[in-house]
Subunit: 486 residues, 2 copies
């Protein structure tokens, strides 16, 4: 490969890593008054990234290249796709979007404080309009939403996604009803305090046991847990600690650890290239959901870890048996707020948002009607009556960021995660026993080989199909829920 | 000013801030295995900085500009000077230097382990040769060292510096002898343990009291204390904690706080421009030395803080009176290692290095003779006989970094710091009383006005002259030592 092109590829990945560092620092250690300076620094880095990516010479280098290996071909494909999207966006639209997002965020916060969607509505209208323009600039086959979805989930299309989500909703509704009919489990945490230092120590124990390399990454605290790969040898996770809700830290850590194991698992020979990344947000989310829900909420997992947790909280949990603890961990309940939803009802929240976004982007739903539509769908999907916008249309920050097409990747993560986990169990019939013995390297090796090492060589669904024999489907996810709750 | 030029100026300062973030993180929180990835990221950032600085368009924008204000004129002067140096360096030399530095560092570490200068010698020869080439590429009036010194201390010249350092050495030698004649003070810390958590809390108390804004900066731990300004609203300090040597954390913190107060004191209207920086390393060091030595080792300072320190360490210091504590804090002793030297003997270490560097860069001293010359000068300046290279020619990392001309800035810091502090005391006759009352904002305001706010508008000596009526001289420094030790 042309030296100049390879240098540019390395430079872009280095810049991406530094952007992740600056963002991580912003959420962890940055002093309060540095907000404006950091915004400038990030804007400069992102501007340089964009400029060095759309640089006409990169187009020429790519055009004049005849890939000599499959890896080189994959590299060129991934880079070309990213670059083509960037080139197609007029800078006037990029600028208008950045401004609209900035205004929308302020309006969204104000609207939440006032519980008044109308304060956010005009900003949301602008964002929807600009995103529709963006979709047209990027190009599509008549379905604008596809062009946006492509930014998060390359290769995925509405025509492929919609029937799967519909099927999923149809199967979830009776399942939720059946679980609810059993009545709520006892809350084993109510009224107890769990010192945060002991919680922290337990999360670090978890990270080590699950295989997260703390010499190639770290964990810190932040308000909202997240993970960020500065490189495969430098993966930052965060968790949040609350002294009344220990599950928040525990499942926050396991979730981010799933992302982190993925980031640490990219092939060293792909370092500083766009192959050392996930092909999609949905596939990335499959790794966090797999570890959080399919492993982390399972009986085998807690067979090993519950005695260790009790040892850290003997007074709080000494009298609680494993069954009651597991029931509390796996409590299922229809609720208004997505980020607090359990693994069973979660996808109903996504289906609701997906339908609304599709309507907004297609133009069949007006922003003025979005609040009513949200409330109507909450009734339909969750059987609940929204009484305030922060429980409804104002609850998520994503639209205020101008992100449309992002939500479905959470559901894709659940579905891909279940399909991958089912395949890993088929490949390792003794997996449950391994988990119950606190041995996770068998599962991790399987994921390394089939999901992590390939990086961005294949689109997400192709990778999942190659790894499991199945593409996108809800069967494995539903089967996992039925096994746990049925 | 041309919009494109101003944008470029902002971009360069943002990049500089991000380079500082990446370097800070490297020394504080970066996981061990990220070393290679971070080296790439830093190299990419530095390469971009260089490329965007030497960009011919920047030269054209600067050339076509007629500054309309004094500030604009200063900005153009500072930027042009930095750019001219960068433009003059052939990229082949930049690359050769980077490679030679990288090899030299490894050899220096190996040579230290083996106590064998000969292992380092060939690498040092290469570095000296390249730096001489660099000096010639940059241009000079026959004194190559001037071209290197200019990189750290713009405007300073050998012809100006040498006589001042000679005078200083002449005055220090009898002073050291007189102090030593009194015999060593009692060591009030010997055999005691000082829990590091309490030390940390005391350093944070110090930072707050001295006026460091912890909402616009932070303190962390690192192996070697340092400070770094990511912007005036984001200044990172580090300190080091040892449970047997509490003075290490205390004076490390005060020293870095001095740097940090300077960085926080740049004018907000200079943000994202090269005016929001120190004109020289010597002037920067004047701020750390002023707070560390002239304030932090003084009786008024400890009149206020010693009871607070005792309150944190009642068992260790409860029986130690202020006089004994002060004597321990101000212990003067000839020693081999610069970084452990007291404020009196410190400049003798610098004078030694300065003479050697001057010889190496002029070509009157060969690298092969450097070890013998170091040992001879240690005998002459400090009266000590070097018995191992890590106590002598291999002790500092600076030459392994290829830095020649850096050491004198430490001495300049001591001299400028004393001259500035003397002027502040003249301007505020009640200053000692303020310090004894734990009130530091009078001193800080004076420094803000005369040193911090001006930023890089004047060269260091011109700024000191404007602030104090005196340029570079040793009178104030010697007077301060005589007042404390005489």
């Amino acid at each position: 490969m042309h030296d100049a092109l390879l240098n540019r590829i390395h430079e872009l990945r280095d810049l991406a890593g530094v952007i992740n560092l600056a963002t991580w620092d912003q959420e962890t250690y940055m002093p309060r008054k540095a907000e404006a300076a950091r915004a400038s620094q990030l804007s400069t880095l992102q501007g340089l990234y964009h400029e060095r990516l759309v640089d006409p010479r990169v187009g020429e280098w790519l055009a004049s290249l005849t890939p000599s290996t499959a890896d080189e071909q994959a590299l060129v494909r991934v880079l070309t796709r990213e670059r083509d999207r960037a080139v197609k966006l007029p800078s006037s639209l990029v600028k208008a979007l950045a401004e609209a997002q900035s205004h929308a965020l302020g309006a969204w916060r104000e609207a939440r404080e006032q519980q008044a969607f109308r304060l956010f509505q005009p900003k949301l209208e602008t964002l929807v309009r600009l995103r529709r323009e963006q979709a047209d600039a990027l190009g599509h086959d008549g379905e604008r939403y596809d062009a946006l979805l492509e930014g998060y989930e390359p290769g995925m299309r509405v025509a492929r996604l919609s029937p799967v989500l519909s099927s999923l909703v149809t199967k979830l509704e009776p399942l939720v009803a059946a679980i609810e009919a059993k009545g709520p489990p006892r809350d084993v945490f109510a009224g107890k305090r769990f010192p945060v230092d002991a919680q922290w120590a337990f999360t670090v124990e978890l990270l080590g046991a699950l295989g997260f390399d703390l010499d190639a990454g770290r964990q810190d605290r932040s308000i909202h847990p997240f993970s960020s790969g500065l490189s495969a040898t430098d993966v930052r996770l965060t968790t949040r600690l609350s002294d009344t809700q220990p599950l928040s830290a525990i499942f926050g850590t396991i979730h981010e650890c799933g992302h982190g194991l993925y980031e640490q698992g990219f092939s060293p020979s792909d370092a500083r290239t766009p192959l050392a990344q996930s092909p999609s947000m949905g596939l990335h989310e499959s790794q966090s959901r797999l570890w959080e829900n399919l492993v982390g909420r399972s009986r085998p997992f807690w067979t090993f870890f519950y005695p260790r947790l009790v040892a850290r909280f003997p007074q709080q949990l000494g009298g609680v048996d494993l069954d009651d603890f597991l029931a509390s961990v796996n409590r299922v309940e229809r609720s208004f707020v997505r980020v607090e939803a359990d693994e069973v009802t979660y996808n109903l929240h996504i289906a609701l948002r997906y339908e609304l976004e599709l309507g907004l982007v297609r133009g069949t739903l007006s922003v003025a009607d979005a609040e009513a539509a949200w409330n109507e769908k909450t009734k339909r999907f969750l059987g609940l009556t929204v009484t305030k916008p922060t429980d409804g249309v104002l609850q998520d920050i994503h639209w205020a960021w101008g992100e449309f097409g992002y939500f479905p990747t959470y559901a894709l993560g659940n579905l891909y995660g279940a399909t991958l986990f089912a395949a890993a169990r088929r490949a390792r019939p003794g997996l449950d026993g391994e988990l119950a013995a606190g041995t996770f390297d068998g599962l991790l090796s399987w994921l390394r080989e089939h999901v992590h090492r390939p990086g961005a060589r294949l689109d997400a669904e192709d990778l999942v199909r190659q790894a499991t024999g199945h593409g996108l489907r809800d069967d494995d996810f539903i089967a996992a829920l039925q096994a746990r709750y049925g």
